[in-house]
């Protein structure tokens, strides 16, 4: 007849409980971390998505610029478009100021990524234009 000291059993159970509480605390802080990371990811995703919508749409930018250039007031001013991998370049050797105003107004008010620009007055009513738009 030999028995285990109930104090030993109690001690084992207390140690087991302490271990379990530690694991629980660990699990809860890990959950909290993941929740914060998820929230960060969600905020980032929303921001990224909206900015990509504005600046990351190559086809949309191209279509929009083509539409601009097809407008009657701008079409007749001789603006040419060169497309490359990085973006496109609009240029005109001499365009009337009204057409320039109209084009620049649309470019400035639109969400185009203007990388470079050169507008130079040729005479009282005309100016040359070179705009580089990147996507």
């Amino acid at each position: 007849m030999n028995q285990i000291n109930p104090l030993h059993i109690g001690a084992v159970l207390v140690v087991l409980l302490a271990f379990l509480f530690f694991k629980l605390s660990d699990a809860k802080s890990s959950l909290q971390e993941e929740k914060l990371l998820y929230q960060e990811s969600k905020n980032l995703a929303l921001q990224l998505s909206s900015l990509k919508e504005i600046y990351g749409q190559k086809e949309k930018t191209l279509l929009s610029v083509k539409r601009l250039l097809s407008q009657s007031s701008i079409k007749s001013s001789g603006v040419t478009m060169q497309q490359s991998k990085e973006g496109l370049i609009l240029s005109a050797k001499s365009m009337n100021l009204t057409a320039l105003n109209s084009l620049m107004g649309k470019l400035i008010n639109g969400s185009y990524k203007i990388a470079a620009l050169n507008i130079e007055r040729v005479n009282e009513s005309h100016a040359s234009l070179k705009v580089e738009i990147k996507w």
Binding site: L7, L13, L17, F21, A27, A45, K113, L117, N118
Partner: protein, 310 residues
């Protein structure tokens, strides 16, 4: 081939003079002297011994002197034999006789010897063991004719045994059981909580994965943060450029002044205004300052070039 070792038998009597001679690892079956317990024969209208055990403390209530008692009962014919004993007293006696707890095989009440007590038997110098009214009792030697000593060899003990609680004096077994059950339940609850927390974490991770798929994010957050930083930088630059354009295009210029050139390259906007006089320069720079534009003016003859870092 294993042979079953016979346990030694010892009659545990408080007045015994000598201890049993046992080898270190030898087991001993103990027979408790009636001096170590109280016994009653009762008739109870219950079917199971388990139901009797609940009643035992109350059945001995007015009989026992103050102390910490354990109880036992078993059926004998139509009646129940009920016992009350102090474990602490028995353990002290074992210690006195040098019997280790680990050496105890089984523990019986002297009632087990009923069949071997056709005549009274001497148990010590002053007392004898005898069977009276089916109960094994002790009596002074002066009252009975006990010619022989009690011999434990050859005695066959019954299966009615008790289990001594080695640590019963620290805490009683029912308390130990209750505390253990409570701790185990708590451990189970905590374990369940851990499991639920892990499930919740898995759910969050799954939602995060869905998010990455839905918004076509890059594999790592570092890549995504870098991408976002790039777009934010672009957004900031383009906004600043448009603000600067707006400031220049809304300048009120003197009649002779003209914006000759607007050049934007490598994040620097240069605006050249022609036919600028010192007075008109002051007017232009003052307007720009009022609009909060930070610029560097460069005057060459009548051409004023204003540089703004975007």
């Amino acid at each position: 081939m294993r042979f079953k070792k016979e346990h030694a038998k010892f009659f545990l009597d408080p007045l015994a003079k000598s201890a049993p001679s046992l080898e270190a690892s030898q087991k001993v079956d103990l027979v408790l002297s009636p001096a170590l317990y109280w016994v009653k024969k009762v008739k109870l209208p219950v079917k199971k011994s388990r139901d009797v055990k609940r009643l035992l403390p109350s059945l001995f209530e007015d009989l026992l002197p103050e102390g910490n008692y354990s109880y036992h009962a078993y059926k004998s014919g139509e009646e129940y034999l009920i016992f009350a004993y102090e474990e602490q007293r028995i353990l002290e006696l074992l210690f006195k006789f040098g019997i280790a707890f680990a050496q105890i095989g089984s523990v019986h009440f002297a009632q087990s010897l009923g069949a071997f007590l056709e005549t009274p038997r001497r148990i010590n110098e002053t007392q004898a063991l005898l069977l009276k009214d089916d109960l094994v009792i002790i009596a002074p030697l002066a009252w009975v004719d006990a010619q022989e000593e009690l011999e434990m060899d050859g005695v066959r003990l019954s299966n009615n045994t008790i289990r001594l609680q080695q640590y019963g004096h620290i805490v009683d077994s029912s308390s130990v059981n209750k505390i253990s059950i409570a701790l185990l339940l708590l451990a189970f609850v905590v374990g369940a909580e851990i499991f639920v927390t892990h499930m919740k974490k898995a759910e969050v991770l799954s939602k995060k994965e869905e998010l990455f798929t839905q918004y076509k994010l890059q594999a790592t957050m570092m890549q995504n943060r870098s991408l976002l930083a790039g777009y934010l930088s672009t957004s900031k630059e383009q906004k600043a450029l448009r603000e600067a354009f707006g400031a220049f295009l809304s300048l009120k210029l003197q009649r002779q002044c003209r914006i000759k050139r607007m050049e934007y390259k490598a994040k620097i906007l240069k605006v050249t205004i022609s036919e600028v006089t010192p007075q008109s320069q002051r007017a232009i720079t003052s307007q720009l300052q009022n609009k909060g534009v930070v610029f560097t003016p460069k005057l060459f003859k009548t051409n004023l070039t204003l540089e703004v870092k975007i």
